[in-house]
Symmetry: C2
Subunit: 321 residues, 2 copies
């Protein structure tokens, strides 16, 4: 099969690779579309090695058709249209994945749209709901509101009955989309001080952030008492000088998680919660994938450059040749 | 009545004060014994103002006898021997407190012993159990193992069936007491590297810390995946430069809480959980107060100096003249 490999100069090119072998609980997916994630850029640069046992090919989510199933698979059969979260291996002709990380792709969605969903919805659920316990009526701040994660965070928080929903984004066009997706207070961080604005609305109970760096202290400043701040990445740096006095005084939780290294059972738990609470809204179109652009997989390098540049809105997706 | 006041030079002396007025759900306690807490030292220095509505007299816990009850009190009657958590006002002849913050003092315990319990047990429960969700079998690190909080943390974790229990303390005598109270691995931090030792035992699921400063990164280093680190104070400083990469990779929770500013209902919830899960062990002597020393209340200044010096083991308590 073909797969995207990383050359010595950290660029991407189509190469020959072996079709992955199936574990008993794996399904094999003929990949029609692969979603990009920022983690892919870090992995390409050698900064985010795949966890033990995972493919060293890039790609954390795909949509496609089941072409084979392991001996213990019970949920899926050959021919099923699906999308799935992977620990790696998505930029390829075929991908193997534990059946508990697979979602049924609704007929109403294209493969490209399906490839926008697994990583973003599972990340939002694992962080805003499972880790931070976002409750109906609680205020919610989604940084990076038009990122792949952000567009799902806003829609899922809205559907779950969050109170005031705040978002940050870096252009007028992006701010408009945040409002469309459910943000009550959509902030252009290039022109406005999000700390001042969120404070003027009473603060946030739950904050999802991927910026880190100086945002850490700012998030602490605008969290409400008993608030929870969860980082899913630290794009401006893992290291920061933080004054924890407000963490103590407001009884805050500062936390961070990734999906990738979790065991299959944990991913299945997250998948099942989404199937129950949010997938019906995907099927009926209430929650919609936001597809920025598609690239043929052989142009994966160009897709990465578009993500690096930061002008995209929603998901960038690779399509099979 | 008498009460300890703070003079202009931040020292303590006995003064005249008004007997506190009762809210409908308050009981009035004739104070026999008042427990010292580090927060008292900070408040004396002007660094920890009492929350709105609280007495500006020092003192966060007392033991004594109920001498009056508010019109809506249902749990207590005049003459009951009790101990209680206060938001302030403990260094005095009488203290008023919401009935939901009051515990029945077992006949087997003296007033001085009773004054060792409320703040420490409620702090341990609120942090190790309520906030951090310490589960049976999970490993637990109690910094400051012979502090007022530490001696209760070790005993309560042991009773709750924690796995490996680690503690840190600063002398051979203190380390021995930690072992007596339930620590499986009692570390003298002046002579040993607690990071190395805890790591060699596989790390800690839950860490309770009052040191802060450089301990923040060290705690992050030795927390197990999905571990929870909770600060109840930051004696070495609120500010630290922290690298959050391991927080993300290990999905850690970094949090901190205080009891003092919580509403009555929250304190009642904590009190009720302790009455159910831990008070029987206080009554039968399985959990025992560790009383360092007593001072007549008019020597409160000397009691504070003993706490500042740091040589104490367990609780320092003031007794009525």
């Amino acid at each position: 099969m073909y797969a995207i490999g990383i050359t010595n100069d950290q660029s991407l090119s189509l190469q020959e690779a072996a079709v992955p072998e199936l574990q008993p609980t794996d399904v094999l997916i003929a990949v029609e579309a692969s979603g990009l994630n920022r983690a892919d850029l870090m992995q390409r640069m050698g900064l985010y090695p795949p966890p033990p046992g995972a493919s060293d090919v890039l790609g954390l989510e795909v949509a496609g058709v089941v072409t084979d199933v392991g001996t213990a698979v019970t949920e899926w059969k050959v021919g099923d249209r699906v999308c799935a979260l992977l620990a790696g291996g998505g930029y390829a002709e075929f991908a193997a994945v534990d059946e508990g990380s697979v979602f049924p792709l609704p007929e109403s969605l294209s493969f490209a749209e399906g490839a926008c969903l697994p990583e973003a919805m599972m990340t939002v659920w694992a962080n805003a709901f499972l880790r931070c316990g976002l409750q109906p009526g609680e205020s919610f701040l989604m940084h990076g509101g038009t990122s792949g994660i952000g567009v799902m965070g806003l829609q899922m928080a809205k559907l779950a009955g969050a109170g005031t929903i705040f978002s940050t984004a870096g252009s007028a066009e992006k701010v408009d989309l945040c409002s469309d997706l459910g943000a009550d207070v959509a902030i252009n961080y290039r022109e406005q001080d999000f700390v001042e604005i969120v404070e003027s609305h009473g603060g946030a109970d739950v904050i999802i952030d991927m910026v880190g760096g100086e945002y850490l202290q700012k998030n602490i400043a605008i969290a409400k008492p008993d608030g929870r701040i969860c980082n899913i990445a630290y794009q401006d740096g893992f290291e920061a000088t933080v004054n924890f006095a407000p963490v103590l005084m407001k009884r805050l939780v500062v936390t961070a998680t990734t999906l990738r290294a979790r065991p299959h059972a944990a991913k299945r738990q997250i998948r099942d919660a989404i199937l129950k609470d949010f997938w019906p809204a995907v099927v009926d179109g209430t929650i919609r994938p936001i597809l920025d652009s598609t690239f043929p997989i052989e142009q994966a390098q160009g897709a990465h450059e578009r993500m690096s540049a930061g002008g995209h809105i929603g998901k960038i997706v690779l399509l099979k040749p």
